[in-house]
Symmetry: C2
Subunit: 185 residues, 2 copies
DNA sequence: TCCTCCATGTAAAAGGTTACATGATTTG
DNA sequence: CAAATCATGTAACCTTTTACATGGAGGA
């Protein structure tokens, strides 16, 4: 079984919350906090078909004659799709994920509530913090070394922005874990 | 003329600093602060050829018989490549760039020193701050509204992370502008 | 009637990932 | 001499972007 793109997991996560049509999903991408996903039909409709071909989603319509194929088509998650979603949410957080796939990690975290227990989200944040602290530490050390070796320039400043991005993410993770823990009391 | 990918501009920027081979560039991507670019040969060598075909870069070798084509091939920027690089660096910062193309903006900023005057970098940061402040403000308002309408959940926390990422970027931009201004005295 | 929104699709093009392949040179 | 590194490439595959296309429904 081949890899699943962030877009595909986003679709699966949204369909888990509520069965809906491709058009509904496009509107969600266009208007809500998930706006950094493209809402172009050329990405979403093919992605839905791939998921359907894999058996992760299905449409409600019985296979009666399709009449007008241009009619609203509501998809829902299959049991297989559900278990794939949960398996994805439960994956451990590796260092490489933090370096190369931060958006995917955040997408996973966003979909945890309602699909896996809070304990899973807390475990996720713990692993996330660890990996992030390690990587951000390395970057910071690298940056300080470079800083002392050359005069100020825009390349250095851009590097600093990258380091601070990871540090901000780390601060968020610590805060989020604290919030979730007090929320569970 | 078609669009140029971030990878291609990264190659152009590095070649402006110093003529070098594809292998050298791969090492740079593998080991320096530009490590979030892939160092796979399957991306870099084809990109170099596209740039060569466009006339932005050229190799030093005269067109003598190529003997062993597996020999080190050092590329340098052509005048056309240089002016394309500068034109890219000088583009105004639009709101959509901030929303959709933050990595490209940071890449541009990183390559400014040595290629355009400091005043261009300062103008860039000014426009960047404005667009970023506006967008981060919208996101923050959106987030506060959502926060007050529903109980705490991981989706909300993930959203918060996104907002804070933009806010951190904004804080960096203000700081960077101050640093560059005092550096110019 | 005209325009906008609903709702779904296709086609072409391009870029990147992964995996594989080749052979020279340097290092232990 | 063997292994690692230098150095460049190809091929298949896949996703995404962009642009175009189709029609129904509802409101001004």
């Amino acid at each position: 079984m081949k890899n699943t793109s962030n877009l595909e997991f986003a679709l699966v996560g949204l369909l888990k919350q509520k069965p809906q049509s491709g058009y509904d999903l496009r509107k969600t991408f266009a208007k809500t906090a998930m706006r950094h996903f493209s809402d172009s039909p050329g990405s979403i409709y093919p992605a839905l078909r791939r998921l359907q071909a894999r058996g992760w989603i299905a449409d409600a319509k019985p296979s009666s004659q399709p009449e007008d194929p241009r009619r609203r088509q509501v998809f829902h998650l299959t049991p297989q799709g559900e278990s794939s979603l949960v398996a994805w949410l439960e994956r451990p957080v590796a260092r490489e994920d933090v370096v190369w796939r931060l958006p995917e990690l955040m997408l996973r975290f966003a979909f945890m509530d309602g699909n896996v227990p809070r304990s899973t989200a807390l475990r996720f944040l713990g692993q996330f913090e660890q990996a992030l602290a390690a990587y951000a530490g390395e970057l910071r050390a690298d940056f300080e070394r470079s800083s002392s070796q050359m005069p100020l320039n825009t390349g250095l400043l851009a590097f600093q922005s990258g380091v601070e991005g990871f540090e901000a993410q780390l601060a968020w993770a610590r805060h989020a874990r604290a919030r979730l823990m007090e929320d569970s009391l």
